[in-house]
Amino acid sequence: MIRALILCLILALPVSAQETIVTDLSRDQVSITADFQGSEIFIFGAVKRDAPVLEGAGPLDVIIEVSGPPAELTVRRKDKRFGIWVNADSVTVDRAPSFYTIAATSPMGDILSDRERQSRNLGLDFAVQGEAEDFRAAVIRIKQAEGNYATEETPVNLTEDTLFTTEVALPANLIEGDYTATIYLVRNQQIISASSQVIEVRKAGLEKWLYDMAQDQALWYGLMSLAVALLAGWGASELFRLLRR
């Protein structure tokens, strides 16, 4: 059904000189509710071309990058001082996305030159940027252990050099922000076309209400927390007094 739609879309579009991408996501909004258990996002699209591919052109590959909002991080290293392990050095890692995963038709290192990857900040080696190499590597290691950075590439299905699909899993401990899904078309170690989509990840319902209140009306939030605590304490005391009779 989706594929048929895309095909219709491609046929209806005006012709252009290059290979370009038509793409969509199964969802472009993710709501973090109290029972949020992670989310799967289905990314699909098609390659649109007006003329047949030239002979001798290398094989077509697709790379899909899904990246969370980047932030500056303070990374600390423990060191032994006075016989105990304490945070000693602290280094700023200039840019680290909150979430990162790559999906590709073949291993990315084989199909795309390092220079191209560097210019697009593509792949964990280039997406996480910082002066101190061991601190940068630590961010990748920690985020991978948390499940926020993928340890391996997800496969992308490419049919007839035209239709591509993949599925990206977002973990349960996601943070809010605008995530981007970028699709790259690759031939001969070079990116020939790119297209981006935004995935809005937002807290919703009770989560949003509590979070906003804690930030914007901190005093009322504190008082509410106290009221809940006192009520529960009183409730438990009364309940068990009744049961004891």
Binding site: Q37, L73, R77, N87, A138, I142, A218, G222, L226, A229
Partner: protein, 304 residues
């Protein structure tokens, strides 16, 4: 079933939280302590950020101590006047503690401060309690004259004396103020009510009669932890209402069950068990400080 905690920003199993609340509740009901000193480290172990764990635990203690103090008020075993004096000290201490906490959080040493406070206080209290109960058990086996508690110490030489009728005491207000302040600082930094320090201090330093000690301690703890909750909520935005509620539900039920188990056990056995538990938590935290951690690096609060 997983639940996403809005402030901690982690997804945790809901039954794990209810279970933890229940387990610590049972222990607190058995031993008559708030259980914060056990719950806060347990929350660290399951991956709640320490700043959130400490602030949220303060909120939970409000609930459990309020539940407890109601029972003591009915039995008239709360010295309200002494409680008020301890409270004044407590509020000063808590305000100070939250500031220290905020400052250390900015320079990335708050985890160390929390761990160190735990190791020191749990080690000292656990050790003393363990030795004391061993001695009590040996005394019980070899009957003899009970050692007399000295009722007149240097404490009684201090100025600003005040009469506390319920406790049957006429002492200076300085020692209770100091004890209150110390517990207030601990409440803010460690996310504990401080009962495990306050109760021995009231008996041995202030010389209060044992029957009013627990109720008075709980009375003061409600206000200090309540104040701490408010301070953390307004200054650090680290109170997680969802986490607190889940811990609470497990905790209040567990406390009642624990109280029933406690009645069937001997006091010395209870105290020695509690001491061993305190020492075990202390040992685990100390090991984390002494042995090389598997991951030397940690990601702090995002820099601005």
């Amino acid at each position: 079933m997983q639940i996403y905690l809005p402030i901690a920003e982690v997804s945790v199993n809901i039954f794990l939280l209810l279970g933890l609340g229940g387990l610590v509740g049972i222990l607190s009901g058995m031993f008559g302590v708030g259980g914060g000193f056990l719950m806060t480290p347990l929350l660290f172990f399951i991956g709640i950020p320490p700043a959130v764990a400490v602030a949220t635990e303060a909120n939970q203690i409000v609930a459990s101590s309020f539940s407890g103090v109601l029972a003591h008020l009915r039995r008239k075993t709360v010295d309200l006047k002494m409680g008020a004096v301890l409270l004044i000290g407590g509020l000063i201490g808590a305000a100070l503690g939250v500031q220290v906490f905020k400052m250390l959080r900015e320079i990335g040493q708050v985890d160390l401060l929390i761990s160190l406070s735990y190791v020191v206080f749990l080690g000292v209290i656990g050790g003393l309690m363990f030795l004391e109960s061993l001695r009590a058990i040996r005394r019980a086996k070899r009957p003899g004259p009970k050692p007399k508690i000295k009722r007149h110490t240097w404490i009684h030489g201090l100025p600003f004396k005040m009469r506390f009728r319920t406790s049957n005491l006429y002492i200076s207000v300085i020692p209770p103020l100091v004890v209150g302040a110390l517990v207030g600082v601990l409440a803010a930094i460690m996310g504990v009510g401080g009962g495990f320090i306050m109760v021995p201090a009231m008996i041995y330093v202030l010389g209060m009669p044992t029957k009013v000690v627990v109720g008075t301690s709980l009375f003061q703890i409600i206000f200090v932890t309540g104040f701490t909750t408010l301070m953390h909520a307004t200054q650090n935005h680290t109170v997680d209402a969802m986490l607190a509620l889940l811990l609470l539900l497990g905790g209040v039920v567990g406390a009642q069950i624990g109280a029933r188990i406690g009645v069937r056990m001997k006091a010395e056995q209870l105290r020695i068990l509690l001491a061993l538990m305190v020492l075990a938590v202390c040992g685990k935290l100390a090991a984390d400080l002494i042995f090389m951690p598997s991951e030397l690096y940690s990601i702090g609060e995002s820099g601005h």
